[in-house]
């Protein structure tokens, strides 16, 4: 379970998060929507301790993420994160990209890590691209590689930061299909996305961010089909 309590975060004088409260249960898929700069992506980085917070608390499975005694490296193993820019490691093959973290972080023997990498790459449909380098893969394939890389750490949660925004339209579908499959498998996910139809179909709940706060939150279909707040209506009206 991820519990976010009264989280504030600013960059210098710019207040990005102004008191966020959100609880995500195991097995739940929550999509965060809202205009750029509303703080959605920053929240993901804070959950993963890649950014610090100014006040409030984020608790993952009972562990306070930002407490000084917390081993954040250890904690991040539970929380896979995938970015808008695929961030594949350009100097490693697909298989090496996926096997690296299990080998170095979990100390999995190389042979097992390679088998693990093959398994996860096959899962995202890249079973025949093991020895390709990122530069030899399309954007959609690189993003699926990033998903396989996160999955190989067998995380309990996936944080997805606009994972389809940098893709050409015809490549979005293959990545969304992969995510759909993960949701069906019961993976807990928090996804920042602009793909409203995807959110409506896959998410359990949707949270609408506006100016650093959650302006409206509710069951996915309800919120998208029938938003209560004026701002939410405007945003959805513009994007759909």
């Amino acid at each position: 379970m991820i519990e976010i309590q009264e989280v504030h975060k600013s960059f210098g004088s710019l207040k990005v998060l102004k008191g966020i409260d959100l609880t995500v249960e195991k097995g739940e898929v929550v999509c965060l929507i809202g205009a750029s700069g509303s703080g959605k992506s920053t929240l993901l980085l804070c959950i993963n301790a890649l950014e610090s917070i100014n006040s409030g608390k984020i608790i993952v499975d009972g562990i306070d993420v930002h407490a000084p005694q917390t081993n954040q490296d250890q904690l991040r193993r539970k929380l896979g994160i995938i970015f808008q820019q695929f961030n594949a490691f350009p100097h490693l093959t697909a298989q090496q990209n996926v096997a690296l973290a299990p080998r170095k972080v979990l100390k999995t023997p190389t042979k097992y890590a390679q088998a693990l990498a093959q398994e996860h790459l096959a899962k995202v449909g890249l079973g025949d691209k093991l020895d390709r380098y990122p530069a030899q893969l399309s954007g959609g394939q690189q993003q699926r590689l990033a998903i396989a890389r996160a999955l190989a750490m067998e995380p309990d949660y996936l944080l997805l930061d606009e994972v389809t925004s940098a893709l050409d339209p015809e490549l979005v579908g293959e990545v969304l299909d992969t995510l759909r499959m993960l949701a069906e498998d019961g993976m807990t996910m928090i996804a920042v996305t602009h793909e409203i139809p995807f959110a409506r179909e896959v998410a359990d709940r949707v949270a609408f961010f506006h100016q650093g706060v959650i302006h409206e939150i509710g069951p996915a279909k309800e919120l998208i089909n029938n938003p209560q707040q004026q701002r939410t209506k405007e945003f959805l009206g513009n994007i759909l």
């Binding site: 991040r76 961030n87 350009p90 690296l100 973290a101 380098y133 990033a146």
Partner: protein
Amino acid sequence: MFEYTFQWRVVWKHWPQLLEAGLLTLQLTILSIIIGLVIASVLAVFRDSSNPFAKYLSVTWVALARNTPALLQIYMAYFGLGAFGIHLSPYTAVLGAVAFNNAGYLAEILRGGFSTVPASQKFAARGLGLTATQSYIYITLPQVLQAVFLPIVNQVIWAMLATSLGMIIGLQELTGMTTFLQSQTFRPFEFYFVAACMYLVIAKIATMLAQIVAAHMFKGGADK
């Protein structure tokens, strides 16, 4: 035109001396690059240091090394340091000056190399649970090495060319030895021609070795 008869036999007779001088050139080149790289690593770190003295030292070193002629730097080491009672041999003066020069250029190459690795790569590595050190060793460093490899090879060639300035202060590296031998035999063209070929061969071998190494080490190519 061309009533001149080339005489290559005289060059052949002195071949052992030329070869030895060529090895000295090679030795100076390699040593000056190793020393230069060590200093450059320190300078590159100092450059972004919060300690004003370290930062100032780095900026000054790089600016002096890059904005004055290598020959002036050699003169400084050989003649100039005499004012402080430091009297260097031609060998030490050339090695020191070329290493000083290399350090300035290599520091900038290293800095450029680090700037080619986007911060997001570190984020991605840390997001997978790698520690800061692991992320540096397995993700940042290999990419930096790839980015700086060819510029460093160019610097090696450049260092080799710069050691020829040793001739001017009487060091018998390849150019100095050639100058000495042609003055004994009055066959400048033949001697300098052979020396030119030797430089070319050394440079070619170095470049080819570098290409082989690069082909094996850097298979990923640039991230596009």
